[in-house]
């Protein structure tokens, strides 16, 4: 069997095993047609935000869901990716592919440094250290006056060769293709020898050591890959927003990414994307719902969202993917209703 045919067999096997994710991807491909005929162009924008946040959450999910590393600082990598566009632009680098390459390299290096320092610790220490390093980068960009400091900098959408990003559909599909490729890559990674080892480390680190493997090497590699994915999301985010400010890497965004993963389903391919859909739909719909009940408080939708989050933690384990799996299983096998693998 030739290399390509082998690859295609692997890919189609993987797609069958991760049907939900690829259905969502297909849905995003057709969504612009729907918005066009329903005359809802605003929702294309929402869909782009969903895909971008979903992509970043998928990156975080590699360490959080598969590797068991609770990183609370991944927004920093989105920010670095975004500033690669902004700062590149500032110095006359307007080629989008160059921005992507720069984002990948810089996020990879930062991921390596932060990962190396933070992964020497575990548990609560790791959570706090990743948060602290993200804050360090946040304040760094706040204090860099030449790049707009607190107010950020507005940027022109980058030149991606023949892809003119000022055509909104082209931007949409650039994001879509990147998301699909990231999904494809992650699908391979989590089932590969590397991914299996990473998951085994989450399950029992000392047994992996007893097998003669150095867990730190795998964790750092996973951390770097996830940082790079978040950086890619950041590069596209900056182009979508036409604007970069430290806000993009505010620590609450790291929290958002975690929420998205938990909502959707930890350690699953479809989970982060599903979570992003639900999260952004809530963000869009809670104010509208509040507006109909108590118009004066429509802006204060967080007052509902906060408790909702606590409820999800207390009562909703396994996320939406787990819920769907449980439903399917109970249909196929009425006796067992527990969420299976």
């Amino acid at each position: 069997m030739s290399g390509l045919a082998h690859f295609l067999t692997l890919a189609s096997d993987g797609m069958k095993a991760n049907r939900l994710f690829w259905l969502l991807i297909a849905g995003f491909a057709f969504f612009p047609i729907f918005t066009h005929f329903a005359d809802l162009p605003f929702w294309n924008d929402v869909a782009m935000r969903i895909m971008l946040l979903g992509m970043a959450a998928m990156g975080l999910n590699l360490v959080l869901g598969y590797g068991g590393m609770v990183s609370f600082g991944h927004a920093a990598f989105i920010g670095i990716g975004a500033y690669c566009v902004g700062i590149g632009d500032f110095y006359g680098l307007t080629n989008g592919w160059a921005h992507m390459l720069l984002g990948i390299v810089v996020c990879g290096l930062m991921g390596l440094v932060i990962g190396y320092l933070a992964l020497r610790t575990s548990g609560i220490y790791f959570i706090m250290i990743t948060l602290a390093f993200a804050q360090m980068l946040f304040f760094l960009f706040v204090s860099l006056e030449q790049f707009g400091g607190d107010d950020g900098m507005s940027i022109d959408r980058a030149e991606f060769g023949f892809i003119d990003l000022y055509n909104p559909l082209r931007l949409y599909f650039l994001i879509w293709v990147t998301l699909a490729l990231v999904g494809l890559g992650l699908m391979f990674i989590v089932h590969s020898r590397f991914g299996v080892t990473l998951r085994a480390i989450k399950s029992n680190e000392s047994r992996i050591e007893a097998m003669g493997l150095e867990p730190l090497q795998f964790k750092i590699t996973g951390y770097v890959i996830s940082a790079v994915i978040c950086g890619l999301a950041g590069v596209l985010f900056a182009n979508w927003q036409e604007y970069v400010s430290p806000d993009i890497m505010h620590w609450t965004r790291s929290g958002e990414l975690m929420i998205i993963i938990i909502l959707g389903g930890l350690g699953t391919l479809a989970g982060p994307l599903l979570g992003a859909i639900v999260f952004l739909l809530l963000e869009e719909s809670l104010p509208i719902m509040l507006d109909s009940v108590a118009p004066a408080y429509a802006e204060n939708w967080m007052i509902l969202f906060g408790p909702l989050l606590i409820m999800v933690v207390m009562f909703g384990r396994g996320g939406l993917v787990g819920l769907l799996a449980a439903q399917r299983q109970s249909k196929n096998n009425p006796k067992r209703t527990k969420a299976g693998q």
Partner: protein, 306 residues
């Protein structure tokens, strides 16, 4: 002139340090002894600041505001632990992060709904708004000096509480070995609730004292929360002594760095470069300090667990 500036900024650094310590003291115990990731500790700072400011505005008396706000913050910590937190001890860290993140969103929004999004300002009483000569011809704001003194008194109080009382002995035992403490029949539930409420109260006091110095507004506690996490990492999780030393170091490094680092850099590099890099470097200084501590002592300067 320069000496005066250094002295003044050192006092400012001390003031920032003791405030940080008040936030970090409770949090380090919550993280270390209870093994609970509590992100909403910054909200306790905000609750304290709002309680004091609101009562001060209502009664017109600053001292009354602070006096009445203290039991309010203790009660808010106690209730929070009773209603929500105690159900989360057995959950994993990530779930704790999410739930307490939800609490932050809720508290910030609740304050915004109740007090409006604009900052609250309360004036200092005349007795505190003057200056004190810390050295001949070196005036320093009386209120800031008061903050330092109150902070140091609290630190002494916490030290006595931890080292001299029965509760303190339980806290120390808990820091060393939580299972052992439980096995000894110490009522962990009550101990945890007490630590939590006291920690909330201390954070609240920090908020009250910061109120007149900064804007009392929603989300005001979060920068302090993150700096106090840095303090706890440097000092060692679960160590009150470590939190004190690290808080003073971080307060001094942060304050002095912001003022003097650009000037120091100018000695070595061109003015333009120094003016650009100085503030950036200064804002990262405490985090760089944290990274250095991590490299050489991954468990902090005063690790509580042996």
């Amino acid at each position: 002139m320069t000496f005066t500036l250094i002295l003044e900024q050192t006092f400012n650094g001390l003031q920032a340090g003791v405030t940080l310590f008040l936030v970090a003291a409770g949090l380090t115990l919550i993280l270390g002894i209870m093994d609970f990731v509590f992100l909403a500790h910054g909200s306790q700072v905000m609750i304290g600041a709002y309680a004091a400011a609101a009562i001060t505005l209502a009664t017109g008396n600053f001292y009354l505001g602070v006096l009445l706000a203290i039991p309010v913050t203790f009660a808010s910590g106690y209730l929070l632990e009773y209603l929500i937190i105690r159900h989360l001890y057995r959950r994993d860290h990530m779930e704790q992060v999410l739930a307490t993140f939800g609490l932050i969103l809720f508290f910030n929004e609740a304050i915004r709904v109740s007090f409006g999004p604009a900052a609250l300002f309360s004036d200092l009483p005349p007795s505190l708004s003057g200056f004190v000569e810390i050295l001949p011809a070196t005036p320093y704001p009386a209120y800031r000096l008061g903050v330092i003194i109150v902070g140091l008194l609290c630190a002494v109080g916490i030290h006595l509480l931890v080292s001299r009382t029965r509760i303190g002995a339980m806290v120390r035992a808990g820091a060393n070995n939580p299972e052992m403490t439980a096995a000894l029949g110490i009522n962990i539930k009550i101990l945890f609730r007490f630590i939590f409420a006291t920690g909330a109260c201390l954070a609240g006091v920090a908020g009250m004292m910061l109120g007149p110095l900064t804007a009392v507004q929603p989300g005001m506690g979060e920068p302090l929360l993150i700096l106090s996490l840095v303090v706890i990492i440097i000092g060692g999780i679960g160590s009150v002594r470590g939190a004190f030393v690290a808080a003073i170091i971080v307060g001094l490094v942060d304050t002095l760095g912001r003022v003097f680092l650009p000037a120091i850099l100018r000695l070595f590099v061109e003015q333009a470069t120094a003016d650009g890099a100085g503030p950036a470097l200064a804002s990262m200084l405490v985090y760089i300090l944290m990274a250095v501590v991590l490299i050489f002592r991954p468990t902090g300067l005063f690790p509580a667990k042996g």
